[in-house]
Point group: C2
Chain length 208, copies 2
């Protein structure tokens, strides 16, 4: 059930107590406001033990929400390269994850987020702090536009995953990955960097 | 709980037996292959009684899956008018439904479809036979392209609903409806009628 942290020394009950405290803290206070110190206090352990078990707040968060993958490891391959094709690379990376064994954990996470407000909150924090913040900082677009652009891109990606892997609507469910990349990549690109008439007062910097 | 059929004569147990048989038939055989005659036989009633209670196979299907709205009533307002803005009208209609009391039933349906394979099948049949078939027949594009175009548009709409109304990712969740229409409408339009380079061998008829 837990094979991501590499090492798991000490008492499994302690580890589980930390994860329980972390889930509550991240869901109630959000990722940024939840501190390792407060999580350690709630779990009745020393903060050094939390660092020892999980390494960083990012990694504790991924473990607490059973994240299928670590965006920090995957996103550099998406962000590096021609910025005009970042949408395609993002869709290609997504399909790679969901077509892999990690996709099963991803479907479980999505199911849980749709049915449980508490998991929905964790997923929201995950998307904003682990995925969108990284992508959007890299793009360097107008900071005022970034949050809406990010959530529009997230909606497109989430719908793709929902229809292809959960509802399994054909022919999208069986379409070759590169067909999906060609179809959905430009839509994601438009949300991230394209001009969005009627949404923002001016076209974004660098657009024609 | 059921206020859509206008009249509900006869025995409520009989009505419920028909709905149970209909759910099984539509989920197992699909909308097109499920016949009112077979559903009546499974429920132990005369087919005339099914027509009497529900009117048509479309309406029986909507009742069986607790559909929040009847697409046959809503879609004419989307399909009539400038075909180049059908994406915007589709998004505007969707937001109207999800912002209305019917949106609560819609969230319940989506939750159920994400967690239950059986409801996922019904939702798939609903999307294909009640929504996409009507939209795509109206557009009159290349029949070979219609199913994939329809499922791509459905994925975009589903993701919008998921992020705005279920996961409630900000600022998308609180964005004014017309901002969302301006942002997402063109993406839906592209899926339905735009050229999709790398997806189909040729641009669709009528595109530049």
């Amino acid at each position: 059930m837990r094979a991501r942290t590499g090492r798991r020394p000490g008492n499994p009950d302690t580890r589980e107590a930390i994860l329980r405290a972390a889930r509550t803290a991240f869901a109630e206070r959000g990722f940024d406001a939840a501190s390792i110190r407060a999580i350690a206090t709630a779990a009745g352990v020393d903060p050094a033990l939390v660092h020892h078990y999980f390494g960083s707040k990012d990694k504790l968060f991924l473990a607490a929400m059973n994240a299928p993958v670590d965006p920090a490891a995957l996103l550099p391959g998406v962000l590096d390269g021609d910025p005009d094709h970042i949408g395609e690379r993002l869709v290609r990376m997504f399909l790679g994850v969901w077509d892999s064994p990690a996709g099963v954990a991803g479907v479980a996470l999505l199911r849980s987020a749709v049915t449980t407000e508490w998991t929905a909150r964790l997923l929201r924090e995950f998307l904003v702090t682990q995925v969108l913040r990284r992508v959007l900082q890299h793009l360097g677009a107008d900071p005022a536009e970034l949050p809406l652009r990010g959530s529009l891109a997230a909606a497109q990606m989430a719908g793709l995953v929902l229809m292809r892997y959960v509802i399994k609507l054909e022919p999208l469910a069986s379409a070759p990955p590169e067909t999906v990349v060609a179809a959905v990549g430009p839509a994601v690109q438009r949300y991230l960097t394209g001009p969005l008439a009627g949404v923002f007062p001016h076209p974004p910097a660098g657009s024609p």
